[in-house]
Each structure stands twice: as C-alpha cells, then as structure tokens.
Amino acid sequence: MRRLFLVRHGETAWNVEHRLQGASDIPLNDNGRAQARAAAPALATLAPVKRIVSSDLSRALETAHILAEAMGAEVVTDARLRERSYGVWEGLREDVRQVDHADEHARWAQGLEPNVEGYEYNATVRDRALALIEEITAEDGTYVCVSHGSTTRVAVAALLGLELGSRALGNLGNAQWAELTQVGDGPWVLRSLNASSLSAASSTVDA
C-alpha cells in the first residue's frame, strides 16, 4: 500500500492579510512556525518517514524542516510542489482583484479559471504535481510532501477523479494535511482531510 500525506505550509503574513501568494516567496510568520511545531508530533506518529519532499518556496521548506526535525528525516526540494502561480494577481487581496480585475474576478468567483497574465492553469499544476507524486510513490511505502493550498487541492482532486476546477474539496488549513492511500493499481482513496486539529474545527478553513 502507498500512503501519501500532502501537507500545507504554516501561516504567513500574506495568509493573514488574505493576499494571494502563488509563486511569491513569502516566509512563515511566528504563528506559522508554531503551527508547524504543533503539527509535527502527530504527523511524525502517523508518517514516520526518512525523507520529506517539499516545495522550494520558503514557507513550505521551513515547514518541512520543522516537521522533519520531529521525525529525524531529511528534506529534499522539488519545484513541482510549488504553489500555482497567480501571475499579476499575486500580492492582491480579493477586494482589490474584485475592483481592478472585475471580469476575471467574476470568472474566478464562479469557479472558472481567470485569464490573467502569468496565471498557471489547473491542468499545468496537475501535470507537474502528479508527475512528482507518481515518481516518489513508485513503490509501496509512506510519503510526505509539503506544498501549498491550491496545488494540493488540484492534486487531491486529480487523484480522486474529480474535475480539476471542482470546489467539492475544501482547501487545507495551514499546517494541515490530506492523507490518501492506494493499494496496487487500485484507485487513490481519501483517508483524511484537515482532520488533525480539533481546536481548528471551530475556525473556518481558508477557502
């Protein structure tokens, strides 16, 4: 059996400000580091791996190092786990996008992909993320990847056979994860999503 844990990075200043990060390299804030430290023991128990594969963006990489410390694991980076690029939308809050990019924001709000410069489409994100996942899960075992909200959502949707633009799956919360398993050539199955922190259940998972 293959067990795959897709972990989202801890909180950043831009998460707090509700600014789209995408490929922008925004570091963890202190709360984000605390979230990663709080998540580490549970993840280390569930997935005691020797190697974590992380996005090379610093918010993911620092999260991965904090988790790896609890497991005694090494961290390797792979740019295929990076966040979707939001192009010219990066750094912008939703209210700003709504005013300055009204048409494309309206498409995005309906669940369609915006046509803004530099935006990375779902299919591209899926192709790179799944290529990495297929590569690392070639054999049975437990695998941990640290990535980002939009990239993990697209990857999980693809692994579960949902349309890539589907909104049926909520985003991962900061330092939360999705666990999926696959037996042989069978389908990937969702085992848990945002399930690790009870206290977080009372707060809204960032959509």
Partner: protein
C-alpha cells in the same frame, strides 16, 4: 458522524440493518465524542440520526449536551448487508468466496438483500440536502449515521465515484465536515476527524 462502536464492531461482525445497541464502552465513547463535537462547533446544533440504536444512542449523547432532541431519519440508516448480516468477514470469505472477492475489490456483491451503492448514496444525499437546506446560515447540523452510508452519501454529494469508493472508512465516533454555500454548493472541508 459515524456511530460509536458496538460489540459487533469489536468482534468484526457485519451489522447492516441489524439493530445492535452500544455496549458500555460504546456509550462511553459516545459521551467523549459528544464533548469533542460541542467543543468544536458549540452547543447550537441540530441533531439528526439513523433510527438504529447504535446511531441514535450516539446522537442522544450529543443532543443531551446540546440541550436538544435527536430527530430520526430513516434515509440515513445503514445499508443492508443482506444474508451477510451477523457474520464475520472471515465467515463471509469462507462461505461466499466469489462475492467476498468482489466486495474486497470495492464492488457490490450479488447476494440476497444487499443494499446497492447507488440507492444508498441517493437516499443519504437526499436526506443531507433536505436537512441542511432547511437550516439557516451558520447553523450546524450533525447527522449520526453509519460507515458505508456516510461514505456513499458524501461521495454522491461531492460527485465522487461511488464504486469502488474514493473515500476511506471512518473510525467509530469520527466525523466529516461539509459546508453548503450558495456560491460553491457542497464542499468537504474535513474528513476523518477523530473525536475521542
């Protein structure tokens, strides 16, 4: 939410539509889960339950804590396991090897009385749509049901393939969280939260 564990669960016997009540440890688990649920979502809950005792006893523990009364809804009852009910999986494998193998691969076995996945998914989803549709914004509806019924109902709502299931089995007393909004529709925000 999946009901707390019964003696049949511990023995690995299939229950389906059999009405097996909670034992002492199941009742204790229900109390713990009720506390966890109210801690997570607050006491203002609407509680809906399968009429089977293992679910309604779990729901009663939650409802008591929330100062309300659980409402029974037949549509969230467990799938029938037909002639397999009361047997262990080991017995099923020995007595129905071909149908066991089919089930093991995630497909519906062709045995007398089996509740077909699409029918179970449809009735559970219908109940969830109706119960949550009738609630107001920010209301929290807790539905206590059963392993297969929950997986199928949730998969149906989300547009996931029902057979073989793309959703894993839930532990007893664990829950999923779905949100319903006008813009997005149904969205799975948590899966497999363990309350005890």
């Amino acid at each position: 939410m999946r009901h707390a564990r019964t003696g049949f669960n511990t023995e690995g016997r299939l229950q389906g539509s059999l009405d097996v009540p909670l034992g002492a440890d199941g009742l204790e688990q229900a109390e713990l889960v009720a506390v966890a649920l109210v801690a997570a979502y607050g006491p203002r809950l609407t509680v809906v339950t399968s009429p089977l005792a293992r679910a309604s006893q779990t729901a009663d523990a939650i409802a008591r804590l929330a100062g309300t009364v659980a409402i029974a809804d037949e549509r969230v009852t467990q799938r029938s396991y037909g002639v397999w009910e009361g047997h262990t999986w080991t017995e099923v494998r020995e007595q129905w090897p071909a149908e066991y193998a089919r089930r093991h691969e995630g497909y519906d076995p062709e045995i007398t009385g089996w509740g077909a996945s699409d029918a179970v998914g449809a009735r559970v989803a219908e109940a969830l749509v109706e119960r949550c549709g009738a609630s107001g914004d920010d209301d929290v509806v807790v539905v206590v049901s059963h392993g297969s019924a929950i997986m199928l109902g949730v998969a149906q709502l989300l547009g996931l393939q029902l057979v073989p299931s793309r959703l894993g089995h839930l532990d007893h007393g664990s829950w999923n969280e779905l949100t319903l909004t006008e813009n997005v529709g149904w969205r799975l925000t948590r899966y497999g939260v363990t309350g005890d």
